[in-house]
Symmetry: D2
Subunit: 451 residues, 4 copies
Amino acid sequence: MKADLAVRGGTVVTPGGAVRADVGIADGKIVAIGTDVRGKREIDASGRIVLPGAIDAHVHMELPVRGDRSSDDFLSGTIAAAHGGVTTIVDFSVGSPETRLPEEIEARLETAAKSVIDFTLHGEVVGWRPGSEREFAEAVGLGVRTFKFYTAYSRSGRMSDDGVLYAAFSAISRLGGTAMVHAENDAIINALTDGLARRGELAMESLPKARPAICEEEAIARVALIARRTGVRLRIAHISSADGLDAARAARFDGTRLIAETCPHYLLLDEGVYARVDAHLYAAMPPLRTPLDNAALWDGIEDGTIDMVVTDHCPFTRAQKRWTGSFLDLPYGLPGVETLLPLMYSAGVATGRITVERLAELVSSGPARALRIHPRKGAIAIGSDADLVIIDPEKEMVIAADALHMNCDFSPYAGMRVTGWPVVTISRGAVIVEDGKFVGTTGRGEFVPQG
Amino acid sequence: MKADLAVRGGTVVTPGGAVRADVGIADGKIVAIGTDVRGKREIDASGRIVLPGAIDAHVHMELPVRGDRSSDDFLSGTIAAAHGGVTTIVDFSVGSPETRLPEEIEARLETAAKSVIDFTLHGEVVGWRPGSEREFAEAVGLGVRTFKFYTAYSRSGRMSDDGVLYAAFSAISRLGGTAMVHAENDAIINALTDGLARRGELAMESLPKARPAICEEEAIARVALIARRTGVRLRIAHISSADGLDAARAARFDGTRLIAETCPHYLLLDEGVYARVDAHLYAAMPPLRTPLDNAALWDGIEDGTIDMVVTDHCPFTRAQKRWTGSFLDLPYGLPGVETLLPLMYSAGVATGRITVERLAELVSSGPARALRIHPRKGAIAIGSDADLVIIDPEKEMVIAADALHMNCDFSPYAGMRVTGWPVVTISRGAVIVEDGKFVGTTGRGEFVPQG
Amino acid sequence: MKADLAVRGGTVVTPGGAVRADVGIADGKIVAIGTDVRGKREIDASGRIVLPGAIDAHVHMELPVRGDRSSDDFLSGTIAAAHGGVTTIVDFSVGSPETRLPEEIEARLETAAKSVIDFTLHGEVVGWRPGSEREFAEAVGLGVRTFKFYTAYSRSGRMSDDGVLYAAFSAISRLGGTAMVHAENDAIINALTDGLARRGELAMESLPKARPAICEEEAIARVALIARRTGVRLRIAHISSADGLDAARAARFDGTRLIAETCPHYLLLDEGVYARVDAHLYAAMPPLRTPLDNAALWDGIEDGTIDMVVTDHCPFTRAQKRWTGSFLDLPYGLPGVETLLPLMYSAGVATGRITVERLAELVSSGPARALRIHPRKGAIAIGSDADLVIIDPEKEMVIAADALHMNCDFSPYAGMRVTGWPVVTISRGAVIVEDGKFVGTTGRGEFVPQG
Amino acid sequence: MKADLAVRGGTVVTPGGAVRADVGIADGKIVAIGTDVRGKREIDASGRIVLPGAIDAHVHMELPVRGDRSSDDFLSGTIAAAHGGVTTIVDFSVGSPETRLPEEIEARLETAAKSVIDFTLHGEVVGWRPGSEREFAEAVGLGVRTFKFYTAYSRSGRMSDDGVLYAAFSAISRLGGTAMVHAENDAIINALTDGLARRGELAMESLPKARPAICEEEAIARVALIARRTGVRLRIAHISSADGLDAARAARFDGTRLIAETCPHYLLLDEGVYARVDAHLYAAMPPLRTPLDNAALWDGIEDGTIDMVVTDHCPFTRAQKRWTGSFLDLPYGLPGVETLLPLMYSAGVATGRITVERLAELVSSGPARALRIHPRKGAIAIGSDADLVIIDPEKEMVIAADALHMNCDFSPYAGMRVTGWPVVTISRGAVIVEDGKFVGTTGRGEFVPQG
């Protein structure tokens, strides 16, 4: 048996554990895992780790925000992703009260067509009203089964109130879909923010006071109750706090079918950065929390409460994030898609906190299962798409924005020393990054329908 | 020692238990409890039960609703109360975004001045904004320490959102006050109601579908979390459902300082009445539930989860409740202040479900403690106000609206046979009801400051 | 009305709260509480606090232990109790595999006949076997309704295994009685003790290692489950640890009808004393715990988890507690009946931690209710036994064994400064302690049947 | 690449999901999974399901009981296992107070040497005393890391009391091992059994009364608390009841590292069989429960609470189980190793309750992980032992003892119609069952050390 491409001699992280094996690829699929697999082209992976390509299941490329856009488009963003070992991204359709969800999905698919890696979409639900349940069914027909809701952001019109959630969750439950929620209590945030504004306390150091952990805890508990009563599968986006994690854990114990996300910045950064002179660059929602919250989230990673790590990649350049004296004027979001895998490998695997198998769950098979695109994606298994990343576990790097490929002139992790770095990225059998260079082609990425 | 008035030979329900004793009264206070107490006037209570006067801690007299008013004013309503053995009512100031809470309290005190029994007020909070914390302090100065919030009724402008609750609870916590909440999820109710309206399903039989128990359960869980995190004492108004009761119980276990109310109609009536031709007369919020909910609430009464039974008295006549074909057009509320004690005695004590001491807790000392007016009110104890009701435990009655004194031409309990009826009511030492007649005077009621 | 005795002008702690009142007594009963009560004899209590006499609901007078006896007999012990404001004690029948419970109760009643204050008994269950359920019914006929079990002490033959508990709890549940349990895990204690013995670690400092808190926590959780499934009312003796208290709290939430005791030594002393040269004098079971456990138990007192404070009075003199080098050779128990009320008043009320009303619940009405002897005992109420203690809240004392009346030549609280001291004790209308002297008579105490 | 053996064209259940693939085997290991794998010998698996060989992780071959032995020895039992698609069994060393655990393991390994499939052992702990912790370390050196305790069976000397558990769990925790517990409350069982014996109620219909679910629930809660406090990983054997399952679920929520087993007979049979004339054949411990318990256990399988299904295979023939009129005289245990996979496939997969991937977890990868022999065992993955079973999903069978190969003349499932049956079994690359015939050799099975 001669494959098109063989990755030979690496430590291959299969669903059944890490094994020393060769991986054979033909027609973009994995066709062999074995001990003597040869290919027309062969890559020597000895001494290296072969992971299923990472899936960054929560990103925002060229996201329209207040007349501006997040600074990576689907081209620059997916090239950067590829450099970081990410072979699939999950972005969002752009919801609006004026348009229907199926149209929004189709429009976004066009925008995403220039991607260099595969992608799928969550359907963002904005301005939806009970009575429009059919939109979800049409979205499912388009291959989108996870629908994103916000319990916050009433002031920018993105919030869904509990009545919307109750109706929408019921409909999505009947379709076998997943409701994904940005869970923060809108009204408390608004009241606290207004109070800070009245008192002129709008420096970055006040940001945590505007969105304390109770906002996340309350909203998670609430949407979990609604999910439980409607029977829908619930995905909680970017859990940031110990209290939020506890609410998720308790909800699951009470019978909620709950999927939990967190992000590298909630694991590795804390509110201490808000005292820095460039604090405004770290503006994200929910805000960064305390070191105790970091530790609680790592516990959640170790004990299985957290199902996946995503980046919520939403970069804005220094120019876009210009500081005006008020955190209310900032665009929110951090660059991250390229550093997901190196950071989690270095802080998780290299330190001994988690195994390489658990890493694969957190950044690849976990998201794939949640999206119901497993085992096409997220697994080194026969018949799966040949999306692979080869990591050199010895390679040390110091994070620096100018060595990265995201269209962003800073990194929140700048100066952090990491151990382990992706050196080859393969997407559906094609080597797209090697020797530090992107060698793929624009638009080669395909939409992955959720099944 | 010769008292002004002695009630002799009855079974007296003191805080220490029911004892055979005489009660001596002078200057409106209880001055003696003993075995040979004589008075200038003496009432023979042998064979009868002497309870502390009932406190109906949740009533709405002459409540302005949509250009109309509930049909009892403070005169007719308190006369009816006196007939039913109630010696203190707790009404509400009438909140408005245009006026300040202290003014609202003062205005309501004027309206209430015609009362024939004592009264105190909860401060209704409507249209309040964070930043006006001082209003609570001023209200405390006026003797009002419990503040009423609605999580529902956004459409009539009465809802407080979670941001208001968080700020207000924090302020009330610092003042040592109590937050009282009508807890139902507004947005779910609105969405379900709109759905029913779209489908033309606005007959009374649809009312429970507009406000299912999850609305109560969710809101109780949410306000309890906010109360727990702000440290405030929380009173949940009129719990109507098993799920709501469970949420209250769980919140208390988690450390919430929680006081739980229910009402006779949630114990004795169920949604079956919505199939009746006069179903619209039973319009109340929350709606009546199922027999399983009745049973769960009785369990809550027996196991101590429920702290008090109140009536939420808010009568509207048949004319006012004229049926137009839609439950949205109705004024909501039921008459009840006069039947509180007889119903609870008959359904609770006469059936053996609860002791007469537990009855006294539920309708007298419980509310008094919650209001911090105990032991001035709510106790047959030395120094307490001489508010007494004498019950004839043998007297049987069939409830009929025209035999009652509330200004309402129907009773939700009409036709119900009860055992035990109040025969003498004494308010601050004055006999105000005897031989079935009111013998007190207009305006004799006094405001009771909460301490 | 002229009573036999009137206690005038004190702050009287009635079940309805503390009021300024006179208390009139005739024929050993309270016959009047009022503002102008006169008596043939009158005691001026102005500036003082009049409490219902304390009930020490867990004491061991002249308890046979290893051929010896605890050093107070029913005469010396009850005289000391009277000095400390205790007007009722609850001791235990002495169980044995050879004798039947009813006989044991009758024998113990004879021994107790010399008491100077009233008393009742718990029935100690030792050597009982399923099949002998009738013994409980006979005990109930004798006025004993609470039955004491040990989950520990298998080596002295006192342990009841879970099979006994299951059968006995079922029988007691049917009789409406209460199961009282010394809850510690026997087998873990034995294993740990044997380990310490093997290693020669039998100094007092090792005692906590022989009986860590998990022993209490596990046993409470276990007996609570058995109680819950059999429906019996469960009283947990002398809770000593935070973990044990948490187990009790959780059991109650799960529906167990649970009554919780603690003792002054678990509130006021900690394992630090085991480093003292006279550490062996502090030998008690369960052992003293840490300051964090003290704090948790005070929280349990404040939040209502703890229902009563008892002393587990079981004194042994220095001679009896002679130190041999091994904690295994000691008789266990501490003197305490005389200091119960002063310590709890001083550490609880004088410090502001609890109100005087809560004190009355913890040491008088709480135990009386648990025993079902309320309101005959445990209340200043009409018709109740005239058991009163008058406390001088200003009186300061330093605890010293030789100023106390227990037959014990040390006090674990020696040197502790207390504020507030009992100055007059009245038992069934008779003044038995005044001016620091006992003025009652031997054998005047009566057995109080539990009803 | 030409393998020794290729299984071609089947639906292969890999850890990453079921895929259509060929499996290549060389030197007893899986060396290739792919689309065009050829071998010297090839087996056509088209239309069939290729599972990792089942691991029956709880069996008792030739178990000495009361002078008798369970009727399968390691030869007959493993041949039967092979027929049923089981490629690894986990038996137990035979504990005794007279011998040391390492000796017991070595002796049992000799007995097991005749096995035709691979095997490993749990170390049965009987008569162990605190102080002998070194025995566990030696056992680990021999490749045994799971240690089996009984909380019941004090009368046959097999019980470990809580002191033993506390000491042993602490030691095993330090070694990174697993404590496995047969969890039933001994003393309650004994008391209830004695009561039944006294009353002469020893027919099979009384068996459930001797061992009600509270026995299992209590023991699980208790050992879980001890496990939690000692940090040990805990495996609960053969959960039989809804209450027991709830206790396991709650313990896990509280932080216990808990692995849960159940058995086919608790899923498929209920206490109704105890009314049959051959009821005694169904004697097992814990006893069969109710249909509600069956349903709760299936829920536990579906929601992930149950980690594995094992048989507790312990056959006795009709002659051995001769009925004497008392359930006390019976040997306990059921035959099952051969029917594990067909029953779970038929009742689980064929009915649609679970996926074939979940089946592989329950009977293969779950046990392998619990034993730390994964991925050597329990996975179709590169480098894993080539233990495979090929199931014909269309094959229908009616269970009948004489068509099975266990040395037992009845089956508890006789007459049950099943869909799906194992047709080829491969052990370390050798076909050992095909065409309904065993074609392996005695003693070819190897011991699998736990790592």
